[in-house]
């Protein structure tokens, strides 16, 4: 995999990766454990720079504020740069319902929007689309055939999206980080769309997950050394932009209004509990790229927004275990995600905890719970354990002919049992 190769090279430039990860982990933990203070500090600093802050408890509140801000700006067209939080609250649908068109300007997201699909990788949203697929989608927009050659496709996207950047009334972005001390937001992109949507439209709305703060610029410097390396294997992305307030006097571009919407939408559920560390996540995607389950199952399997191990932990916590009971099982618990995480979130351990909760909160089916209760009962008693292995040998030929075994053996052979048990060998 190209992305994995890139990863090793960019890390080679760092002196002590482990120490940096440890620093990053501590910064994130310190922020999360004192989040109210940093949110207050951030809000005051943003307002002092002449921008507005709105705290949204739910997706509905965030969407209502965004739609309202767009309406007050008389907006018909919104240019968006890539933002997972905006996918999470489905702001495009809310805008559409209000008669406002939102166009995704990140190349991958633009492709998906034309195809009317959801992203399946948080860094490479359209990872499963071929150049031919893309050419077909772009041809529809151009009204004439576009060649599937990569440079042609990039040129077509540039042509089509330039019009959007220049005619959009509002630019809508996410934010990789907010800096509490200075009231700044930081946006990292490679294409430059983040820069254009925050420079040309007259209003900029940024959607910031409430946990995505860092206390100071020094802390930002630490995290910026880890985020791009973990996400795309770059030392820095092509464009790292730190925005501190709207356009100032004498400046010829930049938005007249800057609105920062801070999003809770379930994040508070994680605070103060066993899963609080998940709020340290900086959405780099490193855990996806190393996960054997993600690599087999693909991003779509995890649901419409987030994917990979971070989704398997985060989504059940945001929406409730009962609404995502399968996700904690989407892991082999091999721990590759934990080893890859730049802020050292013990992802596979959190998944195990969630599985425990599934049983304790009785989200798991009664049949499943009964099965495992009997199993643990039997295997903690030597006599029953011995009996179970004898029975298993007798029942083995049946296993391939009943229930799930029947489906499993459709494409595979059931391994044969040894004639004698290991314990019966002389």
């Amino acid at each position: 995999m190209r992305m994995l190769e890139g990863r090793t090279n960019a890390w080679a430039g760092l002196e002590d990766v482990e120490a940096l990860r440890e620093r990053a982990r501590k910064i994130r933990q310190r922020t999360i454990s004192d989040l109210d203070r940093y949110l207050a500090e951030f809000t005051a600093a943003v307002e002092a720079r002449g921008a507005k802050v709105r705290f949204a408890r739910t997706a509905e509140e965030a969407n209502a504020y965004i739609v309202d801000t767009c309406r007050r700006a008389g907006a018909e067209l919104v240019a968006k740069s890539k933002s997972m939080a905006s996918e999470e609250i489905r702001v495009n649908e809310a805008l559409q319902a209000a008669g406002i068109r939102a166009v995704e300007c990140d190349l991958g997201e633009y492709i998906l929007q034309l195809a009317n699909e959801h992203p399946i990788h948080i860094i490479l949203p359209a990872i499963e689309k071929t150049a031919a697929d893309v050419a077909e989608l772009f041809s529809v927009v151009e009204g004439e055939p576009v060649s599937p050659q990569l440079e042609e496709l990039a040129a077509a996207a540039r042509r089509q999206l330039r019009k959007v950047f220049f005619s959009a009334d509002v630019g809508l972005t996410g934010a990789n980080f907010g800096v509490a001390q200075t009231g700044s937001i930081c946006l990292v992109t490679n294409e430059g769309n983040g820069g254009l949507v925050t420079s040309l439209p007259k209003v900029h709305i940024a959607l910031l997950g409430m946990e995505r703060l860092v206390p100071t610029l020094d802390d930002l410097a630490v995290l910026l050394q880890l985020l791009p390396r973990s996400a795309t294997g770059q030392k820095l992305t092509s464009y790292t932009r730190i925005i501190s307030g709207p356009r100032r006097e004498g400046e010829s571009d930049g938005p007249e209004e800057l609105h920062i919407v801070i999003l809770d939408n379930g994040r508070s559920n994680l605070r103060g509990g066993r899963y609080e560390e998940m709020l340290s996540c900086i959405r780099c995607g490193a855990c996806l790229n190393v996960c054997p389950v993600y690599r087999k199952a693909g991003g779509g399997a995890y649901g419409p927004v987030y994917s990979g191990p971070m989704a398997a932990v985060l989504v059940p916590l945001l929406v409730g275990l009962e609404r995502a009971p399968a996700l904690p099982h989407a892991s082999s618990l091999c721990g590759a995600c934990t080893a890859a995480c730049p802020v050292k979130i013990p992802l596979h351990e959190l998944l195990l905890e969630l599985r425990k909760d599934l049983v304790e909160e009785r989200v798991a089916s009664a049949r499943e719970r009964l099965g495992f209760t009997l199993w643990s009962l039997a295997w903690s008693r030597p006599f029953l354990y011995r009996l179970s292995t004898s029975l298993a040998r007798l029942a083995a030929p049946l296993a391939g002919r009943l229930g799930p075994g029947l489906v499993w053996t459709r494409g595979r052979d059931l391994p044969a049992f040894a004639r004698r048990r290991f314990r019966d060998l002389p």
Partner: protein, 124 residues
């Protein structure tokens, strides 16, 4: 040449910049900016928005040229933030190479939204 300038040169070229020394190239249609700082660790140029430096100037043309005084080269992000302090511009762009994307088949393509060609001119 100081080791900082040397490191900047190597990393800027690795990031996709064409680096010149002393003389700015004459390129038709190219836009020019004066960089506030350079970062040696990553080969980046830092552009601060202001009355003389519109935010989008480095993004709109096909070819962009940054003028950078060698004495403005810092080691990395930590030193940049220490130098800028609270006196942040409305937008601070840390630019590390041309506009690029790997969104189609994970193959790299340059010049998606921003410039496909970026130059740095080092001034003594």
């Amino acid at each position: 040449m100081s080791s900082l300038v040397e490191r900047f040169l190597v990393n800027a070229e690795a990031a996709g910049f064409v680096v010149h020394r002393g003389e700015a190239p004459e390129i038709e249609g190219a836009e020019r900016s004066t960089a506030s700082y350079g970062l040696a660790d990553t080969g980046s140029v830092v552009l601060a928005a202001g009355p003389d430096e519109p935010r989008a100037r480095h993004l709109l043309p096909d070819v962009h040229v940054s003028l950078l005084s060698e004495e403005r080269i810092l080691p990395g992000l930590a030193e940049l933030f220490a130098a800028v302090g609270f006196d942040l511009p409305s937008a601070l762009a840390i630019v590390t190479g041309p506009s690029r994307s790997a969104d189609i088949e994970q193959r790299l393509v340059v010049g998606v939204h921003g410039p496909r060609e970026v130059h740095v001119v080092l001034l003594p």
